[in-house]
Symmetry: C2
Subunit: 195 residues, 2 copies
Amino acid sequence: MSKDQLKTYLQNFVALSNEEMEQFLSSFEEVKVKKRQFIVQPNFVNQYRTFVVKGAFRTYAVADNGQEHTLQFAIENWWVSDFNSYIYQHPATLFVVTLEDSTILQLAFNKEQALKKANHKFETFFRIMAEKGLAFEHRRILFDLTHSAEARYENFLLNFPNFVQRVPQYALASYLGMTTEFLSRIRNKRTRKKS
Amino acid sequence: MSKDQLKTYLQNFVALSNEEMEQFLSSFEEVKVKKRQFIVQPNFVNQYRTFVVKGAFRTYAVADNGQEHTLQFAIENWWVSDFNSYIYQHPATLFVVTLEDSTILQLAFNKEQALKKANHKFETFFRIMAEKGLAFEHRRILFDLTHSAEARYENFLLNFPNFVQRVPQYALASYLGMTTEFLSRIRNKRTRKKS
DNA sequence: AACTACATCAACCTTTTTTCTTGATCTGCT
DNA sequence: AGCAGATCAAGAAAAAAGGTTGATGTAGTT
């Protein structure tokens, strides 16, 4: 069952009894989503916190001039959402779209509230998640600010080698803050070097 | 301006003064939507009643076994929505997707309520819409129940000749209640006959 | 038992769309 | 002037969407 995966994941962060685990997991709903479908769209409230069981997602914003800016990718064992929309329950400004046929586990906002109220350990889990996420973003921002396009690409390759084959290049470029064309040239240069 | 089109349309149904017309039209927002984009998705409330200025839409449901059932097509001067979701403001069960790049005029639920409260004529308009829609669906159901696949196709051709070139065949098949393959054969047979 | 109306499955083809690449030209900095 | 990177345009390559066909199956009629 696909909730086993979330269970295994959780065990890395909190120690839960069988009943606690059961309670936690039963708050999630499994959903299958086909490639290129949106699970979050601007103007609609992001109703769920979602855990990726299988598949790949991209979170991005569209600027006024039409340019897309990718904020996050997510594959197996990652979480996705328009986080601002979710925690404040305000209309989303981001798109969250599948890059492949995917299976997810979704936790509704009010169920999350209930969990946190019910048991302190659940609260702990969400706190840890948030702190790790925040720390991650800090590292990312700092790195991006201080490195060239090529270095950012190299770094991505190093840290997320398993993402590279699964995300389209235009999306990766927009994540790394450069144009598709420029990324194409960087890759081309690298592979020529290697051979 | 694209609201002129809605204006012309309205004039077929109700006689409004300039101010009334202005009030009515100003409750709509113009939106552009690219091909293959969803304006309504299951689990999200259908927030707008939408009038098609330009383009084409398909409304469909996905059954548990994954089969798609097309409920409605809409092109210029038609309305689309998940009607159940809209009027009850409950989560949608249907998808509404563009078949072409489109321009629409959207009326938010609460604005519609305000209009109806403000002026009896607006109420009349919505009543007429609903009644015509209901009558149309009655005819459709009766016809479908009593005719063969080929007859249903012929009938569609006769009643909506301008839809045929614009909707994909798999969508039309699922609207007419047959498989893509079977529709393909029907068409093939017909065109052979003609030549 | 044969016939009709239609479904299912699989393979395949065609067309359209998406994604990626490349060359040329430009810009703002150092 | 030289570098990092953008923009624009044209193509090529890859993937997806849409459509066709043959084979085979089935339920209900005649």
